[in-house]
């Protein structure tokens, strides 16, 4: 047996899995308190590192799972879709996104969580996000060259650095543990 378990053409099963996985995603974010803009934004003022802790522990757990499952032959890495790299638009997109995030206080995923738990500010973030998508989509044709620039396909850190997959995984784990230790130290110092 080798994962992915649901064939690409099985639309019904795939969409049913989408809903089930979404329920888990939303449940975990709400449990952590990330439907609250003020809690989320505490990250950027050094008051509350929940965003970084949740994000990095999720990233590390999934990364280690993918690494070990593929190593034992249980997951076919070639069948997992890796988001494509387009260096310049992603750099520019990150700049805009980070700026919008401190103003809005919620990212699209956490805005859904906020809205679903009754927060009207979350609904407004979602409405703005949808309006922005319509607007940028309509004009993006004029920036098509930039949008496609720096294309590297499914490009990974092991390929970039020339290091073995396992070494990069270990480095990310070390980075996360260092960040966790710093956050705990800083939060204790502020309190």
């Amino acid at each position: 047996m080798s994962a992915p378990l649901i064939a690409e053409g099985a639309l019904g099963a795939s969409l049913a899995a989408a809903i089930a996985l979404g329920v888990g995603f939303g449940f975990a974010l709400e449990r952590a308190g990330l439907g609250s803009a003020r809690k989320l934004i505490g990250q950027f003022y050094g008051r509350d590192f929940t965003v970084m802790k949740v994000m990095f522990s999720a990233l590390v757990v999934a990364m280690l799972g993918v690494f070990w499952l593929s190593r034992f032959g249980l997951l076919d890495l070639h069948a997992v879709y890796v988001p494509l790299t387009y260096l310049w638009p992603q750099l520019f997109g990150g700049l805009l996104f980070g700026a919008g995030l401190v103003v809005a206080g919620l990212c699209p995923g956490t805005a859904c969580v906020a809205a679903a738990s009754g927060r009207v500010d979350g609904v407004f973030v979602l409405c703005g996000f949808f309006a922005g998508m319509v607007g940028i989509g309509v004009v993006l044709g004029d920036f098509a060259d930039f949008f496609e620039s720096g294309a590297h396909g499914a490009w990974t850190l092991p390929e970039l650095t020339g290091l073995p997959y396992g070494a990069v995984v270990a480095a990310v784990v070390m980075l996360a543990l260092t960040a966790f230790a710093f956050a705990e130290w800083f939060e204790r110092r502020v309190r």
Binding site: I6, L29, L84, Q90, V113, A116, D121, V125, G132
Partner: protein
Amino acid sequence: MNGRQRPARAYADPYLAGAGLGLVLLAAFVLVGRGLGASGAFASTAAGAVAAVAPERAAASPLFSHYLEGQGPWLEWLTFELAGVMLGACISAALAGRLHFAVERSPTLARGSRLAFAFGGGMVMAAGAAFARGCTSGQALTGGALLSVGGWLFLGVAFAVAHALAPLLRRLWS
């Protein structure tokens, strides 16, 4: 809403919630061979809406054209996933006594201003997510876990900018 009578439960330990989220993400890789996301649901819905009004304009957009192929914009995987997110968040909030109407804002910021900034910030994030081909979930979390160069670039830049701009926007969040 029972949130008023019953005191809300404390939020979960962030490492525990994060590990749970990581297992959900891993389950997505194992079940369907793709990760979680959010902005794609809005991009595909926007593609469908624009295509209904101005089909040629939509087909000419490098953002929308992608969603108009295959199953079309209304059967996008991320739209169903995001419906699940709303459901899961609602269940979690209800179980914890946190389900009630509110505008979350700094006490020094008027309600209308908070909502205007929420809307405007959302618009700017949409432009960012369109150029980056994903947001905090699709690029930073999913791309990050798969060690995508673009995912880590987006994660690093977005967080650095947010940290750098925060001191200038203290008035919004004091």
